[in-house]
């Protein structure tokens, strides 16, 4: 049975307030029987140094990605993972993590590919929970194994592939959520991050640059509905009914923006291009736009 909704007034503004919970609400609901808290971090050791009591760890790299192909786990592996974490098909999963919930949003998005109904984010993530002095533990909860069904992965509705993006150019908004330096082709990687192996720099033609960080407050929470509308609707002109694709470097930062557009602004057709710049910047003869150059190939 899904958990109840967090009635917090800030969340109520959003199109889908049931997709977020506040730290205060979560602290009161850690023992809800139908709720599992899952931590997904950039730093894969962080969970083991201390996590929200009762939380399980879902590792974006080792658990959600296929070990061989560049793809997500298949339906059987996903069912095994969920079962091992004590998650049933009707469980409410509350994701949180480090780094402004990038990987929490990514894990939530992957669960959505498999149609898991009740997935939520902790507004403010790990950072806010810790800043408020809330408890952490290193104890790994003994969760009884669940029986998660083997369900198909839907790669069409909220996921975009390179071919989809090619066909999308000129037909709908593309939102590049990377830093301006990456967008403008001055960098092929994030500032302060190691080079990640993109051979070409720039962006997909027609993409608008809205760095993911603009959707977040300093404390890691999401900006208010009015602020988000000013950015995505007023500034780059997204309107209801638009077919939208988001991308970044490997799809984690764009999961954050995908969450904002889908669940906070209520846009109904938003796909995340998880191949992102690591694929596009290496692909042969896909068009690239870079300031000061005409789009190539023409």
């Amino acid at each position: 049975m899904p958990a109840e909704r967090d009635p917090d007034p800030k969340l109520s503004e959003y199109s889908h307030p049931e997709r977020l919970v506040t730290t205060a609400w979560l602290a009161e609901h850690l023992d809800d029987p139908g709720l599992v808290v899952a931590e997904s971090d950039e730093d894969v050791l962080l969970y083991d140094t201390g996590h929200i009591p009762g939380a399980v760890k879902i590792d974006w790299h080792a658990d959600l990605n296929d070990p061989v192909a560049r793809d997500y786990v298949d339906p059987q592996a996903f069912a095994d993972l969920m079962s091992a974490k004590g998650i049933s098909r009707d469980t409410t999963i509350v994701f949180y993590g480090d780094n402004f919930n990038w990987w929490a949003a990514y894990a939530l998005w992957v669960c959505s590919l498999f149609g898991h109904a009740d997935v939520r984010l902790l507004d403010g993530g790990r950072q806010k929970w810790i800043e408020e002095g809330r408890p952490l533990t290193t104890e790994v909860p003994p969760r009884p194994r669940a029986q998660y069904p083997v369900v198909p992965r839907d790669d069409a509705t909220i996921r975009a592939f390179k071919e989809d993006v090619l066909a999308h150019i000129g037909n709908g908004p593309l939102v590049d959520v990377r830093s301006p330096g990456e967008f403008n082709g001055e960098l092929t990687h994030m500032p302060d991050y190691p080079q990640e192996g993109a051979l070409r720099a720039g962006h997909v033609p027609t993409a608008a640059n809205v760095p993911w960080r603009r959707a977040a407050n300093e404390d890691g929470t999401f900006r208010s509905l009015a602020e988000l509308q000013a950015i995505y609707r007023d500034e780059i002109g997204i309107t209801d009914g638009d077919d939208i694709v988001t991308y970044c470097r490997i799809g984690e930062r764009s999961s954050h923006t995908w969450f904002v557009l889908t669940h906070l602004l209520g846009l109904e057709k938003v796909r995340n291009y998880d191949g992102s710049w690591c694929e596009w910047g290496n692909a042969v003869r896909v068009p690239i736009e870079r300031p000061g150059h005409p789009v190539r190939p023409a």
Binding site: V44, L45, T49, H61, A62, Y193
Partner: protein, 142 residues
């Protein structure tokens, strides 16, 4: 060639089951020695820009031509701390030549690639590269 103490760590990781390896890295993270008093305010420490988390190191070569390494990384970056812990234990007291001859990919047989994304794993090589550069700058090559 990999200095013997570092080789031992590499072999330990390689021989351990998958579930153990993250735990071992966590142990190195926890075991990273604290900075000595003279580096406490981070004066004289160099920031490694290739790491996405704040990461600082200092390299000293003593009169006996032995290298001493000092690291600082915050507790919220345990993976980076773990790398530092491994290098602190594996390279402490090595000669400049031993450090410069350590292969940049010394960690590939540790079996971490299936646990840690390539991006994060490369941090280990970045730290080693920075140590080598400092050794050269301190005149340790000749």
């Amino acid at each position: 060639m990999i200095p013997a103490p570092l080789q031992e760590i590499v072999d330990d990781f390689g021989a351990s089951p998958r579930e153990m390896r993250l735990q071992m890295l966590l142990d190195y993270s926890r075991g990273l020695p604290e900075l000595p008093e003279r580096y406490r305010d981070r004066a004289g420490l160099e920031q490694v820009q290739e790491c996405q988390t704040p990461f600082f190191l200092a390299v000293e070569i003593d009169d006996g031509q032995r290298v001493h390494l000092f690291f600082d990384a915050p507790p919220e970056a345990p993976t980076t701390r773990g790398y530092a812990g491994i290098l602190a234990e594996g390279l402490e007291g090595a000669t400049p030549t031993e450090i410069l001859e350590t292969p940049p990919d010394f960690y590939v047989t540790m079996g971490l690639a299936e646990l840690i994304s390539p991006l994060r794993l490369r941090g280990m090589g970045a730290i080693l590269a920075r140590i080598k550069r400092r050794v050269v700058e301190l005149g340790g090559a000749g």
